[in-house]
Amino acid sequence: MSRLVLGVVTGVILVLPLLAPAYHVLLMLPFMAYAVIVLGLNLLFGYTGLVSFGHALFIGIGAYTGAVLTTHLGVRSLELMLLASAALGALIAAPVAALCVRYVKIYFGMLTLAFGMVFYTFLLKFYRLTGGDEGMQVLRPTLLGQDLGGIPKTDYLVGPYYYYSLAVLVLAGLVMWRIVHSPFGLCLRTIRDNPTKAEALGISIVRYRWSAFVISAVYAAVGGALLGPPTGNVDPTLAYWTHSGNIVFMTLLGGFANFFGPVLGAFVFIFLQDTVMAVVPYWRLIFGAILALVVIFAPTGLMGLVARRRPAEVARA
């Protein structure tokens, strides 16, 4: 059943650019970027039990890596942008994670938030490098060596860039699927459920948490790099703490206990935000209320609501 749903969804996404208006196809781009980000975030949140309020830091790393590469260094290849973002994300996450994973719960959340704000302040204040609050331009990247500078921007985005993003998302999803079903993934879940017992079984909680953090940071950086080209611009709010909060929100909205939950959450978040903002500018009020309702009445998110109705059909993630 769930395979059928997944197949149908993938099919719809594949043909969407042929059927849907460009406007909605364009909205799929941030969705796919955020889907990559929350897939990674949920390795930390849903599978390891750590809530980061600073992952926007790595989104910012990815986004600005793309901007610096295209505008300052003349590198236009999206493959290189993604690789560089992943590498830089891992490089910065390694020491940050080493410091953060020694703490749990509220202290972990605060420490990640502090690191996120360090980077945000850096982006804001060192404007010669980063453009300050104006941000930076991201020039149109080449895809698989194809310079697509000649076609109109919308055609570029709803065509090649759309399928490129989709490919990245599918690849990221497959890799994450392997990770959570690996012995490593099982060890993460033991740590989430009961760190004391996990240690008694010889599982080093600090090392596993560190690894989960770094992997999730790489995902955030890759997703961040995908966010830049559609708008052609990146700015420091990408690294702001409320942005970190929003991606946790997406994860919770869709359901952290299910592999696909966060992806669904990202989808609902992006499209609902767009729908609401078309009517009133006060999306935060409505989203805040939704978040409050989810936290109080449906902590397992949308996927949890589906699973409650049809417990037998939902595969354990």
Binding site: V175, R178, I179, H181, S182, P183, F184, G185, L186, C187, R189, T190, R192, D193, N194, T196, K197, A198, E199, A200, L201, G202, I203, S204, Y208, S211, I215
Partner: protein, 256 residues
Amino acid sequence: MILRAEGVRMFYGDFCALDGVSVRVDTGEFVSIIGPNGAGKSTLINVLTGALKPSGGTVRFKERDISGIGPVRLARLGMARSFQLVQVFPDLTVVETLQAAVVSRLGRGTRVFAWLGRDSEVREGALEVAELFGLADKAHTPAKHLPQGDKKLLDVASAFALYPEIILLDEPTSGVSTRDKHAVMEILVSASKRLGIKSIIQVEHDMDIVFGYSDRIVALHQGKVLADGPPEEIRANDDVVNTVVGRKAGAFERGA
């Protein structure tokens, strides 16, 4: 000799919890630690399992100093433990819990991209232990949905799945109904034989169990070893009977 603590002292501020305690466990032995509340049993367990670094004295496991080395390295060295307050992974099934232990024993936790479901060694290792503990028919039940007695068994079983050389059981039958206590102990003893676990050290309040299964009993009182010897000797020791076992001695004599 597999585990040996000598002259262990432990202070919490001015309070002396352990005052020169020496304990040894030989290969193949089943040793019980008994003592009234506050005798220092919990502290001694924490010292023996490397969770606490003693203020004085030494703790050696297979001739290696293990004072304060922590649970992870201890498990790697071949010593496992279960907990007095039952410790399980609420959202993991029985078989997943045991798989986690087997993964840890085989050092496969770093395999980030391997497909766990296709690792037959891990699967069979987990199933074997599940069967030994009579948990096979509940293999896919999440731990949080198990009855209390089965949770206790799962806690112990996952420690056994590490194939340790020695296992420390902290009140293995607490929370288990009197009727089931002997059944649980029989499972533990036979499982340890099947899995090649050489020695067992337990802390236990139930004197039936203590006298029924131990090769040797160590009685603690006020941070000191009051007596150390085979069950017959302990039973004949008036000091121990008065302070630890209690006057209702008839029950355990029948049980033994």
